[in-house]
Symmetry: C2
Subunit: 350 residues, 2 copies
């Protein structure tokens, strides 16, 4: 018996409730769209779970890294990427930031009835391409459909599993007084690119999302042998909020140097006009690194050689502060508090 | 510095956009609600990924099982559970069905602006309780908020990781002609319970969802030493669709015995009135097992001793069929096709 009489109409078709039913239409969607794009042996077994093996799993010192993120970004397509590539990069990065090699992703889709299959196919293709580029496999998945008006096009959850060596201990709690604070490049690109797409703003020099995998940069940083204490990506809430979170976890203060923080002129300009602060704007392909002060310069030099770290900079240092404040030496010579993001600058940025 | 001035108002508060911003309000929600309920060392590290170790990870024959599911069930609360307990049981089961011991879950929440915090707290507490009962830890998570009207209360994604021994090979592709087909209990309870809640139907004898962890039953089944070929839970699409999927994967046919399939009288009654077929209705705490015919009776006897297998039954056998049909010997003595679910009987059942 043929399971389906015809192929999905990927040009003009739309998601309907039967695509989430568990029945024939769902099997068709999975087979003709997801399984074809994500093609790998674990997925091809068509079980409800992926069964996985990797030589790193059998190293005595191997430990597991596990992370999850749901993506609800609006709009779904933006300069420099779409929800699909973002969902791969974002979770790959969260796994990699503890020094793990990301290996496997899951993908859970919540589709709104009526969503165009052509757009879904484009998103899936971006996911597949991003996964290939990151060296990870999308090994298990799930598709749900909700009625029109009960979601917003597509939401994607990706969870990621990777392996790292127990000799590594990258964690916010290891940040110490005297550590240097580095960032791998320009702050604010992702948020400004998404906002521009949302508001139909045009710039002379278009700002692209920085959505990208950080694994290769992290791997190169680890290979320098620098004593990295912690890595984190400044996504929602931006650099300012992420540093506050980390200061809180580590029980330290931080002092930033405003003039050292890399922000593109175009991003700075947009932010000034719209009354936004680039330090609170999400990044999706940048990291913050903490290491002992005396190792910062050689680490920086190496980062700048890497394509994802060309505009890296040392932006401040960790100080003793029982109140765990993040403060900033301003360009004008003063000092100001860099507080947590209090409200909501840009909703649905990731 | 105190991060927040006050506690969340869990009695009258509602989710607002700031709870998804990455800022202070989100940190408060995570700390006062999620981290408190799910409390474990990996989560407490407050990194963007959980770093995990387990003695099973270091067994030479250990393999990884990885599964994901998004839950969009409506209504969120139903007789026998809610979206939180369901999200734990469902993913724990998908991991366990390859013989793995489920160890770790991720939890990704998509919250609709305006959703009552009291209901969210109840859902979180159910998740935490279900996780404790299953012996798994919720080690990493994510929270997103979308505007009112862009989701439907709460959607939850859980992904699960477990470990199994490479000597086990439970997979649909291993199903063989001559295998017995067993189910662990009554079919259709979950779907009918949810539909009753949705439609405000009342029965003399209320039908409860069967949402439960199958890990303990599976573990007991494995310990009998029976040569299990495959296990699967008949969720969306019910028994009929799941068997068709498996027949397709294994390249076999199946012949069921209608009279042997356990269905509660109350469920059968509701289905008759509403024109539904219990074989297409979702279950959330039942499994289908395939093993050589001669091992089926002792396996069945053991299953019936287990609380989750009291009403287990042998319901049919695997036959040679190049067309991969699932057929059924009916109570009236005839034979009919049991096809894939074609349309959508009950949307948003899980």
């Amino acid at each position: 018996m043929k399971k389906y009489d015809r192929f999905l109409d990927l040009k003009n078709g739309r998601v309907d409730m039967t695509h989430g039913s568990g029945g024939r239409a769902m099997a068709q969607l999975i087979e003709q769209l997801f399984a074809r794009a994500f093609d790998n042996p674990a997925l091809a077994e068509a079980n409800d779970q992926a069964r996985l093996d990797h030589h790193l799993l059998h190293h005595e010192g191997s430990r597991l890294a596990f992370s999850t993120d749901s993506y609800v970004i609006s709009p779904l397509f933006f300069p420099g990427g779409n929800i699909g590539s973002l969902a791969v990069h974002g979770t790959v990065n969260d796994v990699a930031l503890c020094g793990a090699r990301p290996l496997w992703l899951s993908a859970g889709f919540i589709l709104e009835e009526g969503f165009p299959l052509a757009q879904l196919a484009e998103i899936i293709e971006s996911m597949a391409e991003a996964a290939r580029h990151c060296g990870v496999q999308i090994v298990t998945g799930d598709t749900k459909v909700v009625e029109k008006g009960k979601a917003d096009g597509v939401f994607i959850n990706t969870s990621g599993v990777g392996l790292y060596d127990a000799s590594l201990d990258l964690s916010a709690k290891n940040i110490k007084e005297g550590d240097a604070i580095l960032v791998s490049g320009f702050m604010g690109d992702h948020g400004v690119a998404v906002m521009a797409a949302r508001e139909n703003l045009t710039f002379d020099e278009p700002v692209l999302s920085d959505s990208a995998s950080l694994y290769s940069l992290i791997d190169a940083m680890l290979k320098t042998g620098a004593d990295l204490h912690a890595l984190r990506d400044p996504t929602r809430g931006g650099l300012a909020t992420t540093l506050n979170e980390m200061a809180q976890t580590a029980g330290v203060g931080m002092l930033l140097d405003e003039v050292a923080i890399p922000v593109r002129e175009s991003v700075r300009g947009v932010c000034e006009i719209l009354g936004l602060d680039p330090l609170y704007i999400a990044n999706e392909g940048k990291l913050i690194a903490f290491c002992p002060c005396d190792q910062a310069e050689p680490l920086l030099a190496m980062m700048r050689v890497h394509p994802e770290g060309r505009n890296a900079a040392i932006i401040g240092r960790v100080v003793k502060d029982d109140q765990h404040f993040v403060e900033m030496q301003t360009t004008l010579g003063g000092r100001r508090m860099v507080d947590w993001l209090a409200g909501e600058q840009l909703p649905r940025i990731c």
